[in-house]
């Protein structure tokens, strides 16, 4: 009953918004192409919002933010594949905030279907819902949706540009268009003469873009192959420009010191700071202060020299008190039940087990601290910042200084990491506010590392209770309750991605969400809900397997294979890669975990080895199914990086609170894997899924449970809390 009720309610919302009432009217309206944002801005011939062709050549526009995931390169390959330009001639620009750059995949994700049960009909609904993103201006790089979003649109953009250029050539030469071909950025005539795209661009801009069909993948030259990243040379020569590297004439350097208890300021005394030579301005930002000086070092010193009386936090002062609230939420009525198959309440004969888990708050800790450059001139503000969300950045900066969004120009730079952190606009808004206090002066805001830890939007802490029944060596019942600070991926209580949507065929399967009422600022953290729920699910399923005396691979495979074949295949693949059958070697042990992230099933095996009382992670094997592998080398890099990110958090990651402040403030107290303890990783990429899956986050969820399950196999100790350094010598 529970499941029907929850799904019916959401289906109604979908139905009234886009499907039942929307298709006839909405399909037309939704499918109108929004205004091309590039014509005014660039003052040159723009064929469509994704390709600019001018005398300097072909520039591809990506609205997607590059935070290290390689999106600029693969996005460019999608366009270049159809446009017929040489790889060495491809230039990429990050586009401005604009409606044409909506993220169609992310909106589609907010549907009530389990991804692994998508049918063509449901995929169609998801695409219509994706179009609705246009209306809410969702130009967001998040949820590992970039390739899903761009896969068709970008190839169509490239193909349409190519055919329109051919049409322009056909008109000019009075030749039938089907006698023309294209290669290397040129249109080629039957007699072999060549016209550069750049010479045809102005003519082409006058034409209505051609309707096109996409090439068969068998004809692909770039896609499906590992392409050299377009940003690689810049990044190994120090020339890649992050927001903190922007230099403008007459620029001043700023930093902020905001309340680490996340509330207001009672008073501050800046007399000592003001006397420091080179300190130009100290600004009251309400929740803290900004210092503007002639260099960043001085600004950092001066900010620390300001004496500030902070208001107290509006949340409990310590981690333990916060966890009490979160645990209490588990005992209250559920806020959401997103899966309720069979009946978990009915008594079933079998082996009953239960377990409780807890996970800590986590910081993002990107290598580049938050930074932004801003300049106010008259009635316009220009801002340069790395961000995952340019249209919201534009709106929030405008609001903060009493402007309309049109008065704010956002330049999105490369990001020195993000992992979800730069989906927030706080640092950009601060730069805008500081710039507004000093009209005409370019301001570079750089946060200290300490500020970056204390003013993060943390991955929520959680508590979970799981109950299960194993009958005849098979999983019969799984009943999971998960409590968190909620609201990122849906209404309160729906922090359940990575749990309710997993392809396990338990006859009785319920997943309930409980929202804890805490005002600690939370944010998206690489793989979002899956970052915690995969740990709960895969730890508990492992416990069930051992309770039933069943091999943990076999136990999972039996539940998954009847539900979703590509998922069963990745599980088999990782077992084969890791020689799972023969895993029992002296001094080492292996653990396995499965996770379905977005549309990407992933399975990980982790090997741990004991040496002189210390435990080392010696190897990781990961199999993933991405549907179509657009750039295998980049996928391997992302899965590897995502896995190491997950291991770092599992071993050391925690933000703890005391007096309402995060106790961790720099890398010495928030450790990550280093070269010496990063294991070797083998990645296998599979292509059985019917739809494209994201990879930027997919490697993270399974890393922690694969490790903890390996630790159990090695030591007999279950890790039901992270980080592991409290419990093991890793």
């Amino acid at each position: 009953m529970g499941r029907i009720k929850t799904i019916a309610r959401r289906s109604f919302l979908v139905g009234s918004a886009a499907v039942v009432g929307g298709v006839a009217f909405g399909a037309y309206k939704l499918r109108q192409t929004p205004e091309n944002p590039l014509i005014d801005d660039f003052g040159r011939a723009a064929l469509n919002a994704f390709v600019i062709i001018d005398q300097s050549g072909v520039t591809l526009i990506t609205p997607k933010a590059e935070m290290g995931q390689g999106v600029h390169t693969t996005w460019a390959a999608l366009i270049a594949e159809e446009l017929d330009v040489d790889w060495q001639d491809v230039k990429v620009l990050h586009g401005p905030p604009a409606k044409a750059y909506y993220n169609s995949a992310l909106m589609g994700m907010a549907l009530p279907f389990f991804d692994y049960r998508l049918t063509d009909f449901r995929q169609g609904i998801r695409e219509v819902m994706g179009d609705a993103a246009k209306f809410i201006n969702l130009q967001l790089t998040s949820g590992s949706t970039s390739m899903k979003d761009g896969y068709e649109r970008m190839r169509l953009a490239g193909a349409s540009a190519r055919e329109t250029l051919k049409r322009a050539a056909a008109n000019r030469l009075d030749i039938a268009i089907d006698r023309l071909s294209t290669a290397n950025g040129q249109v080629i005539t039957p007699d072999g003469s060549r016209l550069n795209y750049s010479d045809l661009a102005e003519d082409a801009a006058q034409l209505t873009p051609e309707k096109v069909e996409l090439r068969d993948p068998s004809a692909w030259r770039f896609l499906g192959k590992t392409m050299p990243r377009l940003d690689m040379e810049l990044k190994v020569t120090g020339k890649a420009e992050y927001a903190s590297d922007i230099i403008l004439s007459g620029m001043r350097f700023a930093t902020v010191r905001m309340n680490p208890r996340r509330s207001g300021m009672i008073s501050f005394d800046a007399k000592a700071a003001q006397k420091m030579p080179g300190v130009e301005k100290i600004i009251d930002l309400g929740e803290g202060i900004a210092v503007v000086a002639t260099n960043t070092w001085l600004a950092l010193q001066a900010a620390n020299a300001v004496t500030i009386k902070w208001q107290e936090a509006e949340y409990p002062a310590t981690t333990e008190l916060m966890l009490e609230d979160i645990r209490a939420a588990l005992d209250a009525e559920a806020d959401a039940v997103q899966r309720d198959d069979g009946n978990v309440e009915t008594a079933h004969q079998g082996i009953e087990i239960s377990a409780e888990y807890e996970l800590p708050w986590l910081a993002h800790a990107s290598m580049e601290p938050m930074s932004a450059v801003a300049q106010l001139d008259g009635d316009t503000l220009e801002i340069w910042c790395g961000n995952q969300i340019p249209s919201v950045t534009q709106k929030d900066c405008a609001e903060a200084i009493g402007f309309e969004p049109e008065q704010v120009t956002v330049n999105s730079t490369l990001m020195g990491g993000s992992f979800g952190r730069r989906a927030h606009t706080d640092y950009s808004v601060q730069a805008a506010r500081i710039a507004a206090e000093m009209p005409g002066v370019p301001i570079k805001l750089i946060w200290s590392r300490e500020e970056d830890f204390r003013r993060d939007y943390y991955r929520t802490a959680l508590a979970a209770k799981f109950k299960g029944v194993v009958q005849n060596r098979a999983g019969l019942t799984l009943d999971g309750k998960i409590a968190a600070v909620s609201g990122l991926t849906g209404p309160k209580g729906r922090h359940l991605l990575g749990a309710y949507d997993q392809p396990y065929g338990f006859p009785n399967f319920r997943i309930a969400g409980h929202a804890a009422d805490l005002d600690v600022p939370i944010g998206y953290w690489r793989s979002v809900d899956n970052s915690h729920n995969c740990f709960f699910m895969e730890s508990f399923i492992d416990e069930m397997a051992f309770a039933g005396g069943v091999d943990p691979f076999e136990f999972r495979w039996n539940l998954i294979s009847k539900e979703h074949q590509p998922s069963a295949n990745v599980l088999e693949a990782v077992a084969e890669m890791s020689d799972w059958q023969n895993r029992k070697r002296s001094g080492s042990a292996q653990g396995i975990a499965f996770g379905y992230f977005g549309s990407t099933p992933v399975a990980t095996v982790c090997e741990v080895t004991e040496q002189d009382g210390d435990i080392r992670i010696t190897k990781l094997w990961v199999a993933c199914d991405v549907g179509t592998a657009l750039d295998p080398g980049n996928i391997e890099a992302q899965i590897t990086g995502g896995s190491l990110f997950g291991l770092s958090a599992a071993i050391w990651g925690e933000i703890t609170f005391r007096d309402g402040e995060a106790e961790q403030s720099n890398f010495p107290d928030f450790q990550s894997l280093r070269m010496e303890n990063a294991p070797d990783i083998d990645v296998k990429i599979m292509e059985n899924m019917p739809y494209l899956g994201g990879v930027g986050e997919a490697g993270t969820p399974t890393a922690a449970p694969a490790l903890t399950n390996a630790l159990f196999a090695l030591t007999g100790q279950r890790a039901r809390k992270l980080p592991l350094y409290h419990q093991f010598n890793l």
Binding site: I247, Q638, E676
Partner: protein
């Protein structure tokens, strides 16, 4: 008082107080922004440069303390160790790229001292350089590759 610094083979005038760390002299006064700020406490290695050929954390050396020639990532390309940058490209090491200037400068210092390092020697030399994207496996491969190329060059 203005000081003259020898950086990447040219002289630069830095007009900042003596207690300003080299990191901020390079970035804010001289516009050499390839050297990155990550932590300010020598815990991440993003600010690594060479002074007289040895890797140092530029957040820990003040302007007044500097004696000798400085090489930054911007100057690496003109050195024997540019081969590392080539290997980094061939192995497609960088993701976000922010730590890579420091990783390269540390690796260059390692190979200058030890032209054919073992895995354990690479681990030990590179352990102070943090990468949150997790590019370590490719960094290790790229260092081995560059060492082999250097050996072939004799």
């Amino acid at each position: 008082m203005s000081r003259t610094l020898r950086i990447n083979g040219s002289n630069h005038e830095a007009d900042l107080p003596d207690d300003v760390p080299l990191l901020w002299v390079l970035r804010d006064a001289l516009g050499l922004t390839g050297t990155k700020y990550g932590c300010g406490v020598a815990a991440c290695g993003a600010c690594t440069v060479h002074i007289n050929g040895t890797a140092v954390r530029s957040c820990q050396v003040t302007l007044g303390e500097i004696e000798g020639e400085i090489t930054t990532i911007e100057g690496l390309v003109s050195s024997d160790m540019a081969i590392l940058q080539q290997s980094w490209i061939e192995h497609q090491v960088a993701q976000c790229g922010y730590c890579q200037s420091g990783q390269l400068m540390q690796a260059a210092s390692l190979l200058s001292d030890n032209p054919s390092p073992s895995d354990a020697e690479i681990d030990s030399a590179m352990n102070g350089n943090l990468c949150r994207c997790g590019t370590y496996p490719r960094i290790r491969s790229a260092i081995h590759d560059a060492a082999e190329k250097l050996a072939r060059q004799g």
